[in-house]
């Protein structure tokens, strides 16, 4: 597996989730565990550039894939935009929001859609898999809009 640009040779149990592998074995604690059942998005990472919930992914299925966590995207203009627009409070969902937004922007671009079609409502719809209980949603949308422009 390639994790944040580095090749990792790992021996894992078949039941180990990608999330636990990243957090516990590789010490990439920027990846967060919020629900462990694919409902909150805190564990979002990029697998070959596509956003996934790493808690619902078995590590062995990602053999030979290219995994990127928040540690691997740093520094990214979205991070600065999140701070500037206060798109966070406690910070626990934030790495997942950022990885999800990066994946979402890539999906949108790859679909050939007009960047102007990425309205606030469209961003909200596409980001709805990432929960923020502090309610920083307005700031998150502003940060994404800012970077998408």
């Amino acid at each position: 597996m390639r994790v944040n640009g580095a090749d990792e040779k790992l021996d894992v149990e078949p039941w180990t989730s990608l999330l636990d592998l990243l957090r516990d074995r590789l010490g990439l604690t920027g990846v967060k565990k919020g629900c462990d059942q694919g409902a909150c998005g805190a564990c979002t990472v990029l697998a070959d550039g596509v956003r996934i919930n790493s808690c619902l992914a078995l590590a062995v299925q990602y053999d030979d894939k290219d995994i990127t966590t928040v540690e691997g995207v740093t520094p990214h203009p979205l991070q600065e935009a999140f701070v500037r627009h206060d798109g966070l409070q406690c910070g626990y969902c934030t790495p997942g929001q950022i990885c999800s937004a990066i994946g979402m922007l890539a999906e949108h671009a790859a679909s050939g859609a007009d960047p102007a079609a990425l309205t606030e409502a469209e961003i909200r719809e596409r980001m709805s898999g990432n929960l923020c209980r502090c309610g920083a949603y307005n700031g998150i949308v502003d940060a994404i809009k800012d970077v998408a422009r």
């Binding site: 149990e13 039941w15 180990t16 636990d20 957090r23 516990d24 010490g27 990439l28 604690t29 920027g30 990846v31 967060k32 565990k33 919020g34 629900c35 462990d36 059942q37 694919g38 409902a39 909150c40 805190a42 966590t69 928040v70 540690e71 740093t74 520094p75 979205l78 991070q79 600065e80 999140f82 701070v83 500037r84 206060d86 966070l88 409070q89 406690c90 910070g91 626990y92 969902c93 934030t94 790495p95 950022i98 606030e120 961003i123 909200r124 719809e125 980001m127 709805s128 898999g129 990432n130 929960l131 209980r133 502090c134 309610g135 920083a136 949603y137 307005n138 700031g139 998150i140 949308v141």
Partner: protein, 763 residues
């Protein structure tokens, strides 16, 4: 605004940091993933613990066999009431020792065979890996002797008993004769409301890493109450307080749910002691529901009587809430009704039932959040009865003094909030008739409601260190769970000492630092600000004392009252010198000042102050909802809040916090509900897939405006903002739904089945 931008503004003549929308100082650590939360602290020989939960609501364990669990490779130990080392029993709450507040239950885990709620931890499995512990925990299947359990709130609430109050939170009030006034009132409403249980659902599930070194204990824990957690752990494990260290630099959301010491924390510490290794106990989402209490459900009656001109003649608000039989505190559901409206006759009563369920616990504006749903819905319905604009109705009943207590109001800009909110929202442009505004298939409605939350200031110890290099370190064991706690205190200290914000560092989240109050009751920022102001003042006096004695100092002989801190030094008019120069001459590497208020003195002063002055945050919500005329789907399309929260230190982080309360209120209004099986007492939806918190698509743009007038009777004019904005939200939504559809929904959450057409035609 970045720190650099702020420094530039300051250089260009801006007077202070207080009031500027500075970017949060810990933002970078949080967006890069560098911020390490409790579960993320690793030790070489870390073991992992998982809880086993009781499957009956009340009973006794007749057999608990750990054998099957022990056969799982990697299992280190299985702790049950038959083999666990003892903990001292939990203390009951006592006003003489406020730290007992963090003890939410009388159950002494793993020291009893008794079961008091479905989900109570009855065993802990410790293993080399989380997976092994999780699997082995499923193999521990105790046998129970079941006892009759009372778990159905709806069935039991008619038998509720009067709740006991305390001087700061009375549970009843009587003024005049509300029953007679209500009977005689020409216009009245009399409504019965219900609200369901809710859970906090911070995105970070509770987690503890516990490390014993001999009899010294270190705990990594996301807590809203560092100092009291340390004290509680020291007491329960029989070690001196100074040997316990609680580290909590980041808290992944709390909202009240991390204000107490719940089972996971205690059992992580117990397990670490039992196995002689560091232990991590990270609760699953379901385990959070089973071991951390949430908001009480309620039934409420609000009856309002008014004269034809809309002046209230009677206010009746009664409530029933629940606690667990083995713990929990009744919530002050009618609290805001004591303060919001003037009326000659007021009758308030709170009742409570005890059920065989997990203790309830404070959740953002406990009491007020659900109490204002009932009161503000009833006010709206009274406006319909009167044929009056609901803003006008509120203006006509705005009190000059506290309606029940008679105290003077330190500051209350609710009139201004209504006026500004209505103006900015375009309230007067609405068609006041119900169901009259349509946009295609959507019925459009507008609603408004008041927000109100009392302000509280508690004693905070703070130390401030000024180095010869001009750098300042503020030290305080306060909690940061997203409020921007460190950022605002740095802004305050920079202003007080006249130094650039970039030279101030705030240390927090560690019990080794001076004690702060917990992050609760919207009290932390104002409380710690009081400490920072006092410590900075003391520091400046110490520095001036060095200069006053020094021959050649331009400050020689100057009195503190005439000296001003600015530009990195102390000045008397144009004469003065830098801190660096003063410290260098005195041969000092640094100067430190610490303040440590006396708790009894502080509480005595607070009670006295409370008798004379009513201090609170307040505001006005305005919203627009759209209800699908065929499916009943409800979307909130616009929100605007105008708040009177005293002086605003940081407009950016304050707006986020106020928005956060509104977002949580939207969930409360429309989608959240903890479902308790009325037969078994089991929580049916203990997870984020079945308990629906608001997502991006549920939250419109939320406009926040401040009136920004300092409170004359609080440190720096600050009023806490953590809770006020959730109050009134559910009512504003319900009122907008009433306007859109003609239907008054009295039972939260307002799901589409409650507004579906065909059930009752709009009037």
């Amino acid at each position: 605004m970045t720190t650099t931008e702020t420094e530039r503004e300051r250089a260009a003549g801006a007077a202070t940091y207080v009031g500027r929308p500075v970017d949060r100082l810990d933002g970078r650590a949080k967006v890069t993933g560098e911020a390490r939360f409790a579960a993320e602290h690793h030790y070489p020989d870390l073991a992992h613990a998982v809880l086993v939960h009781a499957t009956v609501a009340r009973g006794r364990i007749t057999a608990i066999d750990p054998a099957a669990a022990r056969t799982v490779p990697g299992v280190i130990d299985v702790l049950t009431h038959e083999n666990a080392p003892p903990m001292k029993p939990p203390p009951a709450f006592s006003a003489l020792d406020l730290s007992t507040f963090v003890s939410p239950t009388s159950v002494n885990y793993l020291a009893t065979d008794e079961v008091h709620w479905s989900g109570q931890p009855v065993a802990v499995v410790v293993a080399e890996t989380p997976e092994a512990a999780r699997h082995a925990a499923t193999l521990v299947r105790p046998a129970y002797q079941e006892l009759p359990a009372v778990v159905d709130f709806a069935a039991e609430e008619p038998g509720a008993v009067p709740q006991k109050g305390n001087p700061l939170q009375p549970a009843a009030a009587d003024k005049g004769d509300a029953a007679a006034a209500l009977a005689a009132a020409p216009v009245k409403v009399d409504l019965r409301f219900t609200t369901p249980p809710y859970n906090h659902n911070a995105i970070e599930p509770h987690a503890t890493v516990a490390v014993w070194d001999g009899d010294r204990l270190t705990v990594h824990e996301g807590t809203q109450n560092i100092a009291w957690t340390r004290k509680h752990l020291a007491m329960r494990f029989g070690v001196p307080e100074r040997d316990v260290r609680v580290l909590s630099p980041y808290v992944g959301g709390g909202f009240g749910g991390k204000g107490m010491v719940w089972a996971g924390t205690l059992l992580a510490v117990l397990a670490a002691r039992a196995v002689g290794r560091p232990v991590r106990l990270a609760l699953s989402r379901a385990a959070v529901y089973h071991t951390v209490g949430g908001r009480t459900p309620s039934t409420q009656r609000v009856a309002l009587g008014a004269d034809a001109g809309g002046r209230l003649t009677a206010i009746v608000h009664t409530s029933v809430s629940r606690t667990g039989r083995a713990g929990g505190m009744a919530e002050p559901i009618t609290a805001a009704t004591r303060h919001l409206y003037a009326a000659p006759n007021i009758h308030l009563r709170q009742h409570v039932v005890q059920l065989d369920l997990l203790a309830n616990s404070p959740m953002r504006a406990p009491g007020e959040a659900i109490g204002t749903f009932a009161l503000e819905s009833a006010m709206d319905e009274l406006a319909w009865e009167l044929g009056m604009d609901p803003v006008e109705l509120r203006l006509r009943n705005e009190p000059e003094r506290d309606p029940v207590g008679g105290q003077r109001l330190s500051r209350r800009l609710l009139r201004e909030a209504y006026a500004e909110g209505a103006e900015r929202f375009g309230w007067s442009g609405r068609d006041p008739r119900a169901g009259a505004t349509r946009d295609g298939r959507w019925l459009v409605g507008m609603g408004m409601a008041a927000a109100y939350h009392p302000s509280l200031v508690l004693p905070a110890s703070v130390s401030v260190r000024l180095g010869a290099d001009g750098r300042v370190v503020v030290r305080c064991g306060m909690q940061e769970m997203g409020m921007g706690a460190a950022t605002v205190q740095a802004q305050i200290a920079a202003d007080e000492l006249g130094v650039p914000l970039s030279s101030v560092r705030v240390e927090y989240g560690d019990s080794a630092l001076p004690d702060a109050p917990g992050a609760g009751g919207s009290a932390q920022t104002a409380s710690v600000a009081g400490g920072v102001l006092a410590a900075c003042d003391k520091l400046k006096r110490s520095v001036l004392a060095l200069a006053r004695r020094a021959p050649g100092s331009p400050l020689r002989g100057r009195r503190p009252a005439r000296v001003e801190a600015r530009d990195g030094g102390l000045y008397h008019g144009t004469e003065g010198e830098s801190y660096a120069a003063i410290l260098a001459r005195a041969g000092r590497d640094h100067v430190t000042a610490e303040v440590k208020p006396s708790m009894p003195l502080f509480m005595a002063r607070t009670l006295l102050e409370h008798r004379r002055w009513m201090k609170a945050a307040c505001g006005a919500h305005f919203c627009e909802v759209r209800v699908d005329r065929d499916t009943g789907e409800i979307r909130v399309s616009r929100w605007l809040g105008v708040f009177d929260v005293g002086r605003v230190i940081n407009a950016k982080t304050a707006a986020s916090q106020l928005r956060g309360g509104i977002v949580m209120g939207l969930g409360m209004a429309l989608s959240e509900e903890t479902l308790v099986d009325p037969r078994t007492g089991r929580i049916v939806n203990p997870g984020l897939a079945d308990y629906h918190v608001p997502v991006h698509a549920d939250v419109p743009r939320i406009d926040i405006h401040y009136l920004d007038e300092p409170d004359p009777r609080t440190p720096l004019g600050l009023v806490g903002i953590g809770e006020v904005s959730i109050t009134g939200v559910a009512a504003a939504v319900a009122n907008a739904v009433r306007h859109a559809t003609g239907r008054r929904v009295l039972d939260l959450p307002i799901t589409l089945d409650k507004v579906l057409p065909g059930q009752a035609p709009p009037p």
